[in-house]
Symmetry: C2
Subunit: 332 residues, 2 copies
DNA sequence: CTGAAAGCGCTTACAG
DNA sequence: CTGAAAGCGCTTACAG
C-alpha cells in the first residue's frame, strides 16, 4: 500500500504538505493542492488509521459490554449506540460477556492498553470497586444501570418507579396476591424492580410473601419452572409479574400448559415490550422502555466524557421515561 | 500513562530489553527480568496497542457487517463469531448496515485505512463487483452467503437443498398448492430458496403459480399482509412456506386473525428455528441451521485467510448441514 | 545476554 | 505557502 511518503515524492512536495491536504488545511497553494490530489488519486492512497491513532493518541473505538445479544433489549440498545457512534466517527467493539465476570474484566482491561477510547457497561457482573481503578485510563459509562454514590455516569430508567407502576396496575385490577419473578438480584436494576414491587404492595396494605418472590434468571425456561411451582402451591397467586418479557412469555406458556386461562385464572405482566410480548396470545402487558434512545443517549454521554471533565457533566445520571402498556394478559 | 521508556529508565535497562520481557523472549537474564518486572509493576505499565499495531501492521480487529441484529439469526451468528475471535485474540467491530448499500460500502472501506485486518460480510446488498477491489487491502469472507464463481471464501448452508426439503415435506403431507413468501430476491440465499421451492414443485409435477410467490422482505408485518392477500384469493393455497421464521410467525398470526385454523386450514413452515417459532401456537415447522457454528466457522475461515493464500485454502466454500424440524404447524 | 538504531506512517509545533 | 525535524510507543534485525 502507498504511504504518505510515496504521495509526497510523486507530487514533489514534503509529507507535511500532503498531510495538510489530507486534513483540509486552508494554507495550501491551489496548484500544490492539485498536484497532491492527483498523486493521491494515482496511487490510490488512503492514510493509515493505525499511524493516525498512534499520533493522535485515540482509537476511535468504543467497547460495549453486553451479557447476551440474543436478548432483544440488548440488541436494541446496541442499535441505538451504533447509529450515534457511527455518526460521530466512532466504531463499536462488540463484547459479549455471557454474564461471565472474568470475561467482563477481560474486556474492561482493553482500556488499559488503549485499545478503545471508552467503555459502555451494561448488566455489570463485577463489584464496582473492580471497575473504578480503570477510570484513570479513560471514561466508562453505564447503560441501563447505575450505582449509588459512584462516579460513573449513566443512562437508565427509574426501575423502582416502573415496577411500582405495573404492580399498582395489577392491584388496581383487583389482584391481592401477586408473585414476582425477578432477574438475578445482584443486578442493580433487578434489586430496584423488586423494591418497586414491594413498595406497591406496602402502599396498598398488602402482605409480602417471600415464597412467591423468585429468581427467574432472566430466562424463559427458568421463569417457566418458577411459574409451574407457583401455581401448584396451595394458595396460588392470581397475578405474576416478571422482570422481563422473555420470562413473562415463559410464564404464559407454562400456565397454559397446565390448563390455566390467562388472564382469567392468572394475570401476567412483564418488562421491555420485546417482540415476544406481542407474538404470544394473549399479548403480554408490559413496561415499555425507550431502549433505542437509551443506547443513543449513552453514546452521547460517553462522547461528552471525551471532552469534558466528569465532574462538570450535568446531568451525570440520565433517567428516561417509561410507559405502561396494558394488554390482554392482565385485562379482565 | 507510563511508556516503555519509563520502565526502561526505572529498571536501568534499554527499551529493547523491556520489549523482550514484554514479549517473553527467552534471552533475558534472570536478574534483569526481575528488575524489569518490578518496574512494570511499580509503574502499572501496560504496553500501548496503538503503537504495537502500527509496528506490526495489524489491528487485531475484524469488521462484521450484518443488516440487523434484532434478527435472532444474525445475533446468533455474531455470538459464534465473537467467541472464536476472542479466543484467537481478535475483537469484533459491530457494523449494522440496516440493509443500506451506502452504509455497507462505508463499512467495507474501513479495510482501506487498515482500521481492521479483515471483513466478514453477510446479506450483501451491493453488487460483488463493488467489493472485489477491496480484496487487495485484506481478506474478506462471506457468512450465510456465496457468489457464483467469485474469489471470496464463504460459509453457508445449501439453501436450494434446504428449501427443496421443506417443500417436499409439505408435498408429502398432501399439499398441492403451496405459496412461498420469500425475502428480498436479490439476496443470493433467497434466490436459492426460491430455486429449491420451484425444484420440489417441478419434481412432483406440480404447477408453478407466480401469484402465490411473494416478497415478504424478511419482515413479520409484510409477511402478514402477504398471507392476508393469499387467503382472500379465489383459490387459496393450503400451505405457506416462508423464507424465515419471523415471516412464518407473521403468517400464522395473520391467518389466525382471519379465523383460519393452523394446520387444519393452512399449513405453515419457515426457516431458521428462531425462538419465535416455538413461542407461537402452533409451533412452526422450520429448517434448523447451525447458526452458531456458521459464525464460528466463518471466523476460522477468515483467520486462515490471514496466514494462507486464498487460492490454497481448501475448501474455500464450506457448506453446513441443515435439519428439518417438523412441528404442529404442518402436521395433520 | 544486551543495546543503539531504524522504522512502522502519520501530525504538529516551529521556522522561514 | 512550505518543509525539516521531532515524536506518538512500540519491535526487530543487527552488532557486540
Amino acid at each position: 500500500m502507498a504511504t504518505i511518503m510515496d504521495v509526497a515524492r510523486l507530487a514533489g512536495v514534503s509529507r507535511t504538505t500532503v498531510s495538510r491536504v489530507l486534513n483540509n488545511s486552508p494554507r495550501v497553494d491551489k496548484e500544490t493542492l492539485r498536484k497532491v490530489r492527483s498523486a493521491i488519486q494515482e496511487l490510490n492512497y488512503e492514510p493509515s488509521d493505525m499511524a493516525r491513532n498512534l499520533r493522535k493518541q485515540k482509537t476511535g473505538l468504543i467497547a460495549v459490554l453486553v451479557p447476551d445479544i440474543s436478548n432483544p433489549f440488548f440488541s436494541g440498545l446496541l442499535e441505538g449506540m451504533e447509529n450515534v457512534a457511527l455518526e460521530a466517527g466512532y466504531k463499536i467493539i462488540l463484547c459479549i460477556t455471557g454474564g461471565n465476570p472474568e470475561r467482563e474484566m477481560q474486556y474492561i482491561r482493553m482500556i488499559e492498553n488503549k485499545q478503545v477510547d471508552g467503555i459502555i457497561l451494561t448488566a455489570l457482573r463485577n463489584p464496582v470497586d473492580f471497575i473504578t481503578p480503570y477510570l484513570r485510563y479513560g471514561p466508562i459509562v453505564f447503560a441501563n444501570e447505575y450505582l449509588d454514590g459512584d462516579p460513573i455516569p449513566s443512562v437508565a430508567i427509574d426501575n423502582t418507579a416502573a415496577a411500582q407502576m405495573v404492580t399498582q396496575h395489577l392491584i388496581d385490577s383487583g389482584h391481592r396476591r401477586i408473585a414476582f419473578i425477578n432477574g438475578p438480584e445482584h443486578i442493580i436494576i433487578c434489586r430496584d424492580r423488586k423494591l418497586g414491587y414491594l413498595k406497591a404492595l406496602q402502599d396498598n396494605g398488602l402482605a409480602v410473601d417471600q415464597h412467591i418472590i423468585m429468581d427467574g434468571e432472566y430466562k424463559m425456561d427458568t421463569a417457566a419452572s418458577c411459574a409451574q411451582q407457583l401455581v401448584t402451591r396451595s394458595s396460588r397467586p392470581t397475578a405474576i409479574l416478571a422482570a422481563n418479557d422473555t420470562m413473562a412469555v415463559g410464564v404464559v406458556k407454562a400456565l397454559q400448559c397446565n390448563g390455566f386461562q390467562i388472564p382469567e385464572d392468572v394475570a401476567v405482566a412483564g418488562f421491555d415490550n420485546n417482540p415476544f410480548s406481542t407474538v404470544i396470545e394473549p399479548n403480554v402487558t408490559t413496561v415499555e422502555q425507550p431502549i433505542y434512545t437509551m443506547g443513543a443517549e449513552t453514546v452521547h454521554l460517553l462522547l461528552t466524557c471525551f471532552t469534558t471533565e466528569i465532574q462538570k457533566i450535568e446531568p451525570r445520571r440520565r433517567i428516561l421515561e417509561t410507559r405502561l402498556l396494558v394488554r390482554r394478559s392482565s385485562t379482565r
